[in-house]
């Protein structure tokens, strides 16, 4: 097992400090649009879900790349090797989580590399919703989203009262 990012959406307040930290690492500016971790704000449900690559074992991005430009780093991250990447974008399509992006300036794929083992987003999070811990690579968002979707659908259709117990 290697250290991965473990994200706890229930602790997130939606401040996007993680996005700001990530974009600062990439660009030296505060540019959320370039962040490799994104916070989705579900305002009417009071839910905020930061998501980024969780370095899944299947690594479809790596499998799909026709020029072997995605490698596994010493920090156990799947990383884009800039000198090899030809910018075809196949990895961005292959990733089922949408966490490989295309940089319109460099014309290359770009994804979370765990900041070489010291993730800036983890440090920036004020509520410790992002941890860098020994954990199996797993889809932490899946069960959470499924659960929330059910609840939300019930509220929308009136099957469950908003506010729960009362």
């Amino acid at each position: 097992m290697a250290k991965q990012l473990r994200i706890r959406p229930e602790k997130c307040t939606g401040c996007i400090q993680c996005e700001l930290a990530c974009s600062f690492v990439q660009t030296g500016t505060f540019q959320p649009a370039r962040s490799l971790i994104r916070v989705h704000l579900f305002d009417d449900q009071a839910s905020y879900a930061p998501y980024t690559c969780f370095q899944c074992d299947e690594a479809w991005c790596l499998t799909a790349c026709p020029v072997n430009a995605i490698a596994i780093s010493a920090a156990s991250a799947k990383v884009v090797v800039d000198s090899l990447c030809v910018g075809c974008g196949l990895c961005t399509i292959a990733c089922p989580y949408g966490t490989v992006w295309f940089n319109p300036d460099s014309h290359k794929a770009v994804k979370c590399d765990l900041c070489a083992g010291d993730p800036a987003c983890m440090h920036a999070c004020p509520t410790a919703a992002i941890e860098h811990v020994d954990t199996p690579a797993q889809d932490w968002l899946g069960p959470w989203a499924a659960d929330l979707n059910t609840t939300y659908a019930e509220i929308r259709t009136g099957a469950a009262p908003a506010g729960g117990e009362s």
Binding site: T13, Q17, F24, F30, A46, A124, P126, T127
Partner: protein, 616 residues
């Protein structure tokens, strides 16, 4: 390098239908820091203080600060600067959320809106693409529907929308401008100015970045302030746990929670509308604005039954889903001030105000004044259409809609309590200064707040010199709320410092945990300008005096620093502050002296010279 700024402003002329890009006046940005100060400087140059606030000659400025859009904690704010229709004074209303940073990322430091459109429009900003779009199909919609509609029709789901609701469209004098559904540039009627220009919304999507002069230095300074916020009891525990609502019980226990239009100052149902009750029974989660590490925002939910309890017609589907608030000010204005101890009613009315785009402080306070008129027999059922007794929660909800649509008696409420009470022959029931209603602290129980209200440039306001900090909370040091000693000095210092904070683009709530000296290194690293504590405080003083000078020309300078008789002549009838009145007369002369103004409160030529304001 002009760190912190993009160097470009947008100038939108609605009468001509044109959009122009101008260079930012960097000399003004330096001298007035940004935000509130920069906006004041532009307004000084461009708007005659005597114009009608709702005429095309007034301009509406959306101004960011140099730290807006950075990762400085709470670097989320944008300031709306204009002539306020509620007051006639220069108003500076600011809002958090994500709109200000998004504007910066799109490449603009501010937006100047001029003239008046011939039909409803909205401004669309997507990086370099800036255009006016038809909004006739949006006119009549509430804030929440407007945001949703623009996101859908633009095909840019990440755009951030600042808009007005029905209140702004109907020129309610205390209409707000809302962004991110629940964030408000709330006071003095900035939304009515937007409505008078037939500008429904400004939608922004920006994918650029905010550049800094010294990125490494900035990161170090930003970490240092965050660490300090984490160590403060208020910013690390009090505000995140209970939100601003934590104050209800605190202020009530001091006998300074204005109740039933300030007739009393202790509310018997305070517990029921308090932050503690909200947290235990209604809170879903905290919500942070852009880059905020405090997260005081509340997201609450109404229990199933309560969602359908009151008969309002607006936006029924949303009553069952979570929304933000209430905040302390709302819980007070629509709760204690109206004698209403029903938290569900307060939450629902708060959401209603957000969706309609209406300041809940002035709305609640105006309704409270109407209730006093009703109970004294100055207005009748025939005029109001319903019994406006203190404690009538149904009226709170129903009148909010009527006010926003200017329907029936709501048309009179929409004018604010000064005009309302004057109309019915009881101007003494107006509880405010310069036409703007007091916020949630009775100045008879907290002496400094009386001076702060009386001298506040935008009319009665708690955010321009929050002496509650020392007088009640003991931050930075405890002062006796019942004496006037030192209050003139602390008020002046707080006004100057707060002006500077408001100019940076940071949130004034930071000052619960850190001081201007903690913000300074970030400002220096971001801009590359060598501000010092002295020059920054001076910039704050410059801003305060410029606003005052503009107000003098608008007829709201000297002579306007007065409190209602109830504050100065009617002792508090009961509770911990029983027998107290505000002794404004004891503080004002010293305040004028400390400001370097004349004994009548006029800015002197010497003071203008000292602040670099001589040649304006």
């Amino acid at each position: 390098m002009n760190g912190g700024w993009t160097g470009t402003i947008l100038r939108v002329n609605l009468s001509r239908g044109t959009v122009k890009k101008d260079a930012l006046r960097l000399d003004w940005a330096r001298d007035y820091v940004g935000g509130r100060g920069l906006g004041a400087r532009y307004l000084w140059d461009e708007v005659d203080p005597t114009v009608d606030a709702l005429s095309p000659k007034n301009k509406l400025l959306f101004v960011t600060g140099p730290l807006t859009g950075t990762n400085a904690s709470c670097g989320a704010r944008y300031m709306v600067v204009t002539k306020g229709p509620l007051t006639g004074a220069m108003t500076t209303s600011n809002s958090g959320g994500h709109w200000g940073p998004e504007l910066k990322c799109a490449g603009y430091d501010m937006v100047v809106v001029e003239g008046r459109a011939t039909r409803p429009v909205y401004l669309w900003i997507h990086n370099d693409q800036v255009e006016l779009r038809d909004a006739t199909h949006l006119w009549g919609k509430g804030v929440w529907d407007t945001e949703e509609a623009i996101r859908a029709e633009s095909g840019v789901p990440d755009c951030i929308v600042a808009s007005i609701g029905q209140a702004g469209e109907h020129l309610v004098r205390f209409a707000s401008i809302m962004n991110d559904l629940h964030r408000a540039a709330g006071r003095s009627g900035v939304g009515a100015v937007m409505g008078s220009k037939l500008l429904k919304a400004i939608a922004v999507r920006g994918t650029g970045g905010v550049r800094l002069a010294d990125p490494r230095g900035f990161m170090a300074a930003s970490w240092a302030m965050k660490a300090k916020l984490k160590a403060s009891a208020v910013t690390a525990e009090g505000l995140p746990t209970y939100g601003t609502e934590v104050l209800v019980n605190v202020i009530n226990e001091h006998g300074a929670l204005p109740t039933r239009n300030h007739r009393e100052t202790v509310f018997e149902h305070a517990e029921e509308i308090s932050g503690e009750t909200l947290t235990e029974t209604r809170l879903v989660a905290n919500k942070a604005c852009f880059a905020c590490t405090i997260a005081c925002g509340r997201v609450s939910k109404l229990p199933g039954v309560a969602a359908d309890k009151f008969s309002v017609s607006t936006h029924p589907r949303n009553w069952r889903i979570a929304g933000e608030g209430p905040e302390y000010e709302t819980a007070w204005a629509m709760g204690a001030d109206c004698g209403i101890g029903d938290l569900d009613a307060v939450i629902k009315a708060h959401w209603l105000c957000n969706d309609l785009g209406m300041d809940p402080i002035t709305y609640g306070a105006t309704l409270a004044a109407a209730m006093e008129l009703y109970e004294t027999g100055a207005v009748s059922d025939a005029q109001t259409g319903m019994p406006l007794r203190f404690g009538n929660a149904e009226a709170l909800l129903a009148m909010a809609e009527k006010t926003a649509y200017r329907d029936g008696f709501g048309d009179l409420l929409a004018e604010g309590s000064k005009r309302l009470t004057a109309r019915f022959g009881h101007p003494e029931f107006f509880m405010g200064v310069r036409g703007q209603e007091f916020p949630a602290y009775d100045s008879r129980g907290i002496q400094g707040m009386g001076l702060g209200y009386a001298t506040s440039n935008r009319g009665a306001c708690h955010l321009k010199a929050y002496t509650v900090s020392p007088e009640i909370l003991g931050i930075p040091e405890k002062m006796d709320p019942h004496t006037t000693d030192g209050k003139a000095e602390i008020t002046k210092i707080f006004q100057d410092i707060t002006s500077a904070v408001d100019a940076t683009g940071l949130c004034v709530f930071l000052t619960f945990g850190v001081g201007l000296e903690d913000m300074l290194p970030q400002l220096v690293a971001a801009t590359g300008t060598k501000y010092t504590m002295e020059s920054l405080t001076r910039a704050g003083e410059r801003i305060w005096n410029l606003e005052r000078l503009w107000n003098e020309r608008a007829g709201l300078g000297k002579g306007a620093d007065v409190l209602p008789k109830r504050m100065t002549d009617e002792p508090i009838p009961s509770g911990p502050a029983k027998g107290k009145v505000n002794r404004l007369g004891d503080m004002l002369p010293e305040y004028y002296r400390l400001r370097g103004w004349t004994p009548e409160g006029e800015v002197t030529p010497q003071k203008r010279k000292a602040l670099g304001l001589s040649r304006l």
